[in-house]
């Protein structure tokens, strides 16, 4: 459980985050989305006990991050953005060291278990300095999982991984998120869409939106847009389709392409298809052109859409 209330952090005169309030429940994967410099890492560093906030409060796993920092740190698994590691240690020794700092019983066995979870068991005796970026990322993840934490805070967990590993790590996070609280930051929107139950979008230190990925998409796209293509020119169809109840704003585009909008929650596509066929046109394709999360993101964070 993570509960954040009015969190603010200043670096000198610069305000990194301002009055953040959000919550992540147990068994929930909360995505933290935002452009670079939005304040994601700052927020995660505060929640992991690395540094105190300037103002506001937060509880992680039921403990206050300022007055009960040690209790919080015992219960949080944290993967920092830059994945700092000791290059002159072997993977096993490093994880053993971190496990010892957490006073884990039978630390060696636990290290083997997490190495297996992240698929690094063969590199256990290799030096961290010789690992690829993706492997380092997985060592960092293994470190965060060592003590079976109630809360996982993962700063860009899939960055630098190859596509197959990305899939593995996402599955692992989804699995872990079933009984734990996971807060993960990402700038990959499809990732948030795939693994997060809820998404908090943050820009310039402020929350601009908070909802499930599906709702965000639905809410922001408003009316649904559909694009279709017929053989030949589509000009004559405009009036016929516009006459169908629920259809709004029909536009004919070159090469038989036609776009229309319809009110959300009302699927007019079957009726549109019948109308086209009845008018003796060959319907070649029809697809919804909902606003992608990318576009939502750009719109929310105030950047121009193309």
């Amino acid at each position: 459980m993570i509960r954040v209330n009015g969190l603010t952090k200043d670096y000198g005169a610069r305000r990194a985050i301002e009055n953040l309030t959000f919550e992540a429940r147990q068994g929930e994967i909360l995505g933290f989305l935002g452009p670079n410099g939005a304040g994601k890492t700052t927020t995660m560093r505060i929640l992991s006990g690395y540094m105190p906030p300037t103002a506001g409060s937060a509880q992680v796993a039921g403990y206050d991050i300022i007055s009960e920092s040690l209790e919080v740190r015992r219960r949080v698994g944290y993967l920092p953005e830059t994945v700092p590691l000791y290059n002159d240690m072997t993977v096993f020794d490093y994880l053993k060291f971190m496990a010892d700092l957490r006073h884990l019983p039978r630390a060696e066995d636990r290290v083997d278990t997490v190495l297996d979870m992240v698929g690094l068991i063969e590199r256990a005796d290799g030096y961290i300095g010789n690992l690829s970026k993706g492997m380092r990322q997985r060592v960092g993840l293994a470190q965060a999982l060592l003590h079976r934490p109630e809360v996982l805070i993962l700063d860009e967990p899939t960055i630098g991984l190859d596509p197959a590993q990305v899939v593995e790590v996402r599955n692992l996070i989804r699995e872990l998120g079933k009984e734990r609280t996971v807060l993960l930051s990402t700038h990959i929107l499809s990732e948030a869409q795939q693994i997060c139950d809820r998404v908090v979008i943050i820009n310039k230190g402020r929350i601009v939106a908070e909802d499930s990925p599906e709702n965000l998409q639905a809410r922001l796209s408003g009316a649904q847009r559909v694009s279709l293509r017929v053989r030949g020119e589509s000009d004559e169809l405009v009036e016929k389709i516009a006459a169908i109840p629920g259809v709004q704003e029909v536009i004919a585009l070159p090469e038989g392409v036609l776009e229309f909008q319809h009110a959300p929650g009302q699927d007019v596509r079957p009726e549109v298809a019948r109308t086209i066929v009845r008018a003796n046109y060959d319907l070649l394709e029809m697809q919804p052109v909902g606003m992608s999360l990318e576009e939502i993101f750009l719109e929310l964070t105030g950047k121009k859409r193309k």
Binding site: S48, M51, P80, T82, P84, F97, L101
Partner: protein
């Protein structure tokens, strides 16, 4: 305490994978060995002065302390500065250990290394003991080594405290070096110049304390209290710095 020990163990092992520790250990033992041999040689010459020259333990502990002033900065410079530079400090500061446990653990690691060196150097007093009649005064040997251990412990703590302030090892090295040179060679100077406060400067003059009491077999309570105060001060400084850095 357990956390402190875990940090200390890692640091202690780390010294033995880096060449700098071996270089320091080898250099100190060889130079002390040379000075030791020269003293023995001098003592074995026909008597040229009024009284015969009988070397004592300070021919070993004196040069060792002198070399500690220059090598302790190299032993401590990395300890926290490098954690800061590589970002691994973030791992330690988000692990469930108190800031003072981290700083004290770093100090303990370096202290154990210096202690290893000090134990190895016991070879020289052993040789000396066998060479002179009627052997070494064990009390003097004890106060000499106790002084050396206390002083090196204090200087290492200062080095660790300074290392916490930098993310650059070289900067930490030179700052520590300057502080140690002042503490060892210069701080006693005002005692003879200033009309007042002379006693104060004599009190904080580490070198004077060592040579005029512990090296002679005398042990005052303040000889123990003063280095321990420096030790606590150094570790406190390091902990405070880490704490302040968290807020930045």
């Amino acid at each position: 305490m357990r956390n402190m020990w875990i940090i200390a163990q890692r640091e202690y092992k780390h010294y033995f994978v880096s060449p700098i520790a071996y270089v320091i250990m080898f250099t100190i033992l060889v130079i002390v060995g040379i000075i030791f041999a020269l003293n023995i040689w001098q003592a074995s010459q026909p008597i040229v002065m009024y009284s015969p020259y009988v070397p004592d333990v300070s021919i070993i502990t004196g040069p060792m302390l002198f070399m500690f002033i220059f090598s302790i900065p190299a032993l401590t410079m990395r300890l926290l500065a490098d954690e800061h530079r590589t970002g691994t400090l973030e791992l330690l500061l988000t692990a469930p250990l108190r800031d003072w446990e981290l700083v004290a653990g770093k100090w303990l690691g370096s202290f154990l290394f210096v202690l290893t060196l000090i134990v190895l150097s016991l070879l020289y007093p052993l040789i000396l003991h066998l060479l002179i009649e009627p052997g070494l005064d064990l009390g003097v040997l004890l106060t000499n080594y106790l002084g050396m251990i206390l002083i090196s412990a204090a200087l290492l703590a200062i080095g660790v405290g300074i290392s916490a302030m930098f993310s650059n090892q070289i900067a930490a090295f030179f700052t520590t070096l300057v502080v140690l040179v002042v503490l060892w060679f210069l701080i006693g100077a005002p005692a003879d110049i200033l009309p007042r406060l002379g006693d104060f400067f004599r009190y904080i003059d580490l070198r004077d304390r060592f040579y005029n009491s512990m090296a002679m077999g005398v042990l005052n309570l303040s000889d123990i209290v003063y280095p321990l105060t420096l030790l606590v001060l150094g570790l406190f400084l390091g902990t405070l710095t880490i704490e302040v850095r968290r807020w930045q």
